[in-house]
């Protein structure tokens, strides 16, 4: 199992908190909406990923477990 970040773009309002809290994997586009680096979050960075998830004011960011293929 690996951990992937998901953005629900219907919920996301582009607050930008996630990119502040987890710049290693999240940057913002020209309009302030997050672009998440594809692929699993390395375990060394999971604490930061979880902080970004908890910090999202719109509850739009989640971590999903994906079965490795």
């Amino acid at each position: 199992m690996s951990q992937h970040l998901r953005v629900d773009f219907i919920k996301c309002d582009g607050h930008g908190v996630c990119a502040e809290l987890f710049p290693e994997r999240i940057r913002l586009d020209d309009w302030g909406y997050p672009i998440v680096e594809p692929g699993p979050v390395p375990s060394a960075l999971l604490t930061h990923a979880r902080r970004a998830v908890v910090g999202c004011p719109a509850l739009a960011l989640t971590i999903a477990k994906v079965a490795d293929r």
Partner: protein, 440 residues
């Protein structure tokens, strides 16, 4: 020929050989339809249900709505979720340049309903909802009349109620989560998945959303068997396919063609091209441009088009004449897609509008410095960042336009020049004045 088909009574009509299968002479009504195609198998017992799902899986039938998802796998995923499910026959057809679902529903609505009935039995559904574009009066009338013909005594061999619902005529309204959202009383806008409709759909029930053409093929697989189905088309994506051919061809329209047909034969079947073709737009505005020299080597199949970097999508093929400007036409479509955003996802709302605006400045030969570079960057940024695939439609369409019409784009942007004098619009788009702008 049909060695594996179920045994058939001597009085049953012969299954069609070759093509057409769906668009033969239009049956005059339900009785005529039954005489033409023979009785629909019952699909009642557990083993009959399993056999139907397995037959559709083995048939290699791919969904005809655009995504090409294996029809059998979708059927199985709903069948495995128990009883009291719902079947949605999706004929919303939001693609403005595609008419094949409308033609099928006016021509052979009973075949679609048959397919929905056997699918409903296979997944133990309590209800069938036929979803159509509410702006298309002919389609609404044809479906209503077909349902009415079956409601009388002995009229439908269906114990599952069938009703018709008209959805707003918007580009993304036919996306399956949007259909479900609308049927649940919401706007016809896509919703975030998962849960997908097969898990939680109409009224929270597992819902099979299947394109109407897919269901019509399932109706024939149920009757005549897998071996019959595979007598047409390649063995990995068998059957015939409805295509909408338009642009610079002698006889534009909806055709039923055998999958695997070489593209030169497809063009010959529609009367040949009437103008020099610079590119083929395949799969509608959800699709891609394919340069003319690459077209001759293709065959009509998802696999062949995918190998060429394109997609067959809903089967819309537009023969684009070299007298028309690819930059200007791409700008028109970019604007249309931007206007059809459901307005829910930031990257789509802002990204598609920025992309359309900048492509329009390029087309008008008034591009600011770095316009093409911005468009390329935005296209990379918006990909896969929406609840539905509308951003990806724009990405696929424009990325291929930037490749196929690369010289033209460069000439417009850098040098403010266009080699085309003909400015009449070419690609079919709905008139802004009488567009359905509502989501409810």
């Amino acid at each position: 020929m049909s060695t594996g088909a179920p045994s058939r009574a001597a009085t049953d009509p012969t299954p069609p050989t070759g093509v057409p299968r769906l668009l033969g002479p239009a049956p005059a009504g339900f009785a005529d339809h039954c005489a033409r195609y023979g009785p629909l198998p019952t699909v009642r017992s557990r083993s009959e249900r399993a056999a139907l799902v397995e037959a559709v899986e083995r048939s290699t039938l791919l969904g005809r709505g655009g995504a090409g998802f294996p029809a059998g796998r979708k059927l199985r995923s709903v069948a495995e979720r128990g009883r009291h499910t719902i079947v949605v026959a999706n004929g919303a057809e939001g693609e403005p340049a595609s008419h094949k679902d409308a033609v099928l529903l006016t021509h052979a609505p009973h075949l679609v309903i048959d397919g929905a009935i056997v699918a409903a039995r296979a997944v133990r559904a309590d209800e069938i909802i036929v979803v159509v574009d509410r702006e298309n009066a002919a389609v609404c009338a044809a479906v209503d009349s077909a349902i009415a013909q079956r409601s009388g005594p002995g009229g439908g061999h269906s114990d599952v109620p069938v009703r018709r619902v008209g959805v707003p005529s918007r580009y993304v309204a036919g996306e399956e989560s949007a259909v479900v959202n609308f049927l649940n009383g919401g706007p016809a806008k896509p919703i975030s998945v998962p849960p997908r409709p097969y898990e939680r759909g109409v009224r929270g029930r597992p819902t099979l959303v299947q394109n109407v053409e897919t269901l019509a093929h399932i109706a024939l697989i149920a009757r005549y068997g897998v071996d019959w189905f595979q007598t047409v088309g390649p063995l990995d994506e068998s059957g015939s396919m409805l295509v909408t051919v338009n642009g610079a061809v002698a006889r534009p329209g909806v055709y039923e063609l055998a999958l695997g047909m070489p593209m030169p034969d497809v063009l010959a079947a529609v009367g040949g091209t009437t103008d020099d073709m610079s590119a083929l737009l395949a799969g509608g505005y959800f699709g891609n441009w394919i340069p003319a020299p690459a077209v001759t080597g293709l065959v009509l199949s998802r696999r062949s088009f995918a190998a060429a970097g394109g997609s067959l999508g809903c089967g819309m093929l537009h023969v684009f004449p070299s007298r028309a400007c690819g930059v200007r036409e791409s700008a028109r479509v970019a604007r249309y897609l931007a206007e059809e955003t459901a307005g829910q996802c930031g990257p789509c709302v802002h990204g598609l509008s920025a992309i359309a605006g900048t492509v329009e400045t390029i087309a008008r030969r008034k591009a600011p410095r770095g316009a093409l570079r911005d468009v390329r960057r935005w296209l990379q940024d918006v990909a896969h960042r929406g609840a539905c695939n509308l951003p990806d439609a724009a990405v696929g369409f424009l990325t291929s336009a930037l490749t196929v019409f690369a010289d033209e784009f460069e000439l417009h942007e850098r040098h403010g020049r266009c080699t085309h004098r003909d400015t009449a619009p070419v690609l079919p788009l709905p008139d802004r004045a009488d567009r359905d702008w509502s989501w409810r």
